[in-house]
């Protein structure tokens, strides 16, 4: 839907707006996490929200990720719709039992009698100089667990619409926000009202007949820049952002590959286990396989923990230049 207000928000603002709308709409929604109250969360996402909703709905917790997520699972089973913020996605490690063994499985395992309407929001990604224990992209862990939905928004407008759907969803949703996107405004305006974006629908950001790029999170933005740049040189790129990596909407990807015959898949995290592989596998086993002109190419984070020093950190994940080189090569070498 066209936006009339032309509001350019940051990701932090968009996420805050979605939570605020949901909390105004329904009494059963609350936010819980470390420092989400007066501190506004480590990245300021819930800034001022405790003033508005009180300490019973914006709940500050001790440093207890396992306890917090577990309590959210219990509250969800008992009829609430908790949003949990884990301060850094790296610390979902502490809570993996409640995420993977409890939240993800309860509905299925208990025969459908109960369900877990829980949103776990957490910042991920590198680029902040916080080193290996504060910079990971762990989306693969979640995508590997049946029963979790996994959302990776690449811009504020999508973040708002997807988060509204995530909060409505009766199932556990992992919502992964990239730290570097928190403070920069998106390219698209954020609609004022309540416009939900359904989970599981890929978005085609631009169309081109030479190459299909599939990327998520911050890699969408980097890929977009490359696509714009290369279009000036006559290399036309279709850019697709799946937005949710689980479920993964392949239709537009197949469609595009069948036109371009070339596929580049980009992610920030290390390749092994990554969503990029799932995309490649699905293309490889589909009818699109026959349309491929070039070998599929992937770009992923290096197979290393994220280092601290800025020059090392940059080297650890795909940069715009890397995407550009890859895109150029595929198109030039495979005619």
């Amino acid at each position: 839907m066209a936006d009339t207000t032309n509001r350019m928000l940051t990701m932090a603002e968009a996420v805050r707006e979605a939570m605020t709308i949901a909390m105004n709409e329904r009494e059963d929604v609350f936010l819980m996490g470390e420092d989400v109250g007066i501190y506004g969360g480590a990245f300021g996402v819930s800034s001022e929200m405790q003033n508005k909703f009180g300490a019973d709905r914006i709940i500050d917790t001790p440093i207890s990720e396992l306890g917090i997520v577990g309590a959210a699972v219990g509250a969800a089973l008992a009829g609430m719709r908790p949003i949990v913020e884990i301060q850094f996605s790296d610390f979902t490690a502490q809570a993996m039992d409640q995420i993977a063994n409890q939240a993800a499985k309860i509905h299925f395992m208990l025969g459908g009698a109960l369900h877990v309407p829980l949103v776990l929001r957490t910042p991920q990604g590198s680029g902040t100089g916080a080193a290996a224990q504060h910079s990971q992209v762990l989306e693969t862990w979640f995508a590997n667990i049946p029963g979790l939905k996994v959302v990776v928004p690449s811009n504020p407008a999508d973040a708002k619409g997807l988060l509204l759907s995530a909060i409505d969803d009766p199932n556990p949703v992992i919502f992964l926000e990239h730290k570097l996107l928190y403070k920069i405004p998106g390219r698209d305006a954020v609609p004022e009202g309540v416009e939900r974006i359904p989970l599981g629908v890929s978005k085609v950001l631009r169309h081109g007949s030479d190459l299909t790029i599939v990327a998520t999170g911050i890699m969408v933005n980097k890929s977009y820049e490359v696509a714009e740049k290369l279009s000036a040189e006559g290399i036309n790129i279709t850019l697709i952002d799946p937005r949710t990596i689980s479920p993964l909407d392949m239709d537009p990807i197949h469609e595009s590959v069948q036109q371009t015959g070339r596929l580049l898949v980009v992610q920030e995290g290390p390749s092994h286990g990554g969503f990029i592989n799932e995309v490649i596998a699905r293309v490889s086993e589909s009818a699109s396989f026959g349309s491929l002109i070039a070998p599929i190419k992937r770009l992923a984070g290096m197979n290393i923990p994220i280092p601290y020093a800025p020059q090392l950190e940059r080297a650890a994940v795909p940069q715009i230049e890397d995407i550009e080189v890859a895109a150029r090569e595929i198109v030039k070498n495979w005619r």
């Binding site: 019973d56 207890s64 396992l66 219990g74 008992a78 063994n101 409890q102 025969g111 199932n171």
Partner: protein, 333 residues
Amino acid sequence: MTTIQLLKGHPLSSKEHASHALLYMWKIRKFEEAVEDLFGRGMMHGTMHLSIGQEASPTGMCLALDLADQITSTHRGHGHCIAKGADLTRMIAELLGKKIGYCGGRGGSMHIADVETGNLGANGVVGGGIPIAVGAGLASKLQKKGTVAVSFFGDGAMNEGAFHEAANLAAIWKLPVIFFCENNHYGMSSSTEKAFAIEKLADRGLGYGIPGVTVDGNNVVEVYEAAEAAVARARNGEGPTIIEAITYRWKGHSRSDKNLYRTKEEIEEWKHKDPLPRFISIVLEKGLLSQDEIDAVQQQAHDQIVHAVNEAVKAESAEPSGLLDAVFKKVGA
């Protein structure tokens, strides 16, 4: 769908209460015996964790609860489910992988939940249900529902981080939660003497500001009294309580257990502390029930179990079709 007939209150407060308490302990005992039998006859798949010898603890605790109060349970959870009012046929059916089973065959022995009776689910993860109960307590407080959430767990579970984090949250938020620790002396082969450097596990509460009480877990009266006090505290907004119920499991941890870590004598000794004769002698002594009445209760439990097994055996097997659709609850449903 069963009609749930739970009778809250002190097991010695009336004839009805006494026979109710006795009935539930018998139901648990006979249920477990039936499970062992089904397993032995190769009719049941997987593994099983029997709570024979521990019947007084869940029974005493649940006698202090309303239907709307909630529990989380464990791998050794049949007793908790039954004491909270679960339907025996659907339980057995679940163990046999039948469609009418509580989980439609998807969960089995370790995953029985029952919304109707406030059972938020047994759990295959040691300690897994403890933070969940705290969350149910949080929901009760936020929604001002006045319900209490009880987490049953074993002595072994107390050493999991999940217990720690959950206990602290309940303490600082003064949540209506009861941490009910069934101390049966072992977590698998690990004795409490080796796994703890404290005498009374209820003393763990000292580190959180949670009052703890240790009771004879084989005496349903003692369990009930502690439970009642903890429930009152919880409903009054005074926060959580730890109840440590000292008990013993007669059977091995699961089917793979060779009982190498304990002696035959120890097991025999505890059989003499059987919670059933224990309670029977109290009610006889108090003149609450006659021997005939007691026999009738036992027969009633027996009949219920036989009925449940027969129904469950006859029921239709769960089918693989539709499994994929069962992972998520439909949006908007």
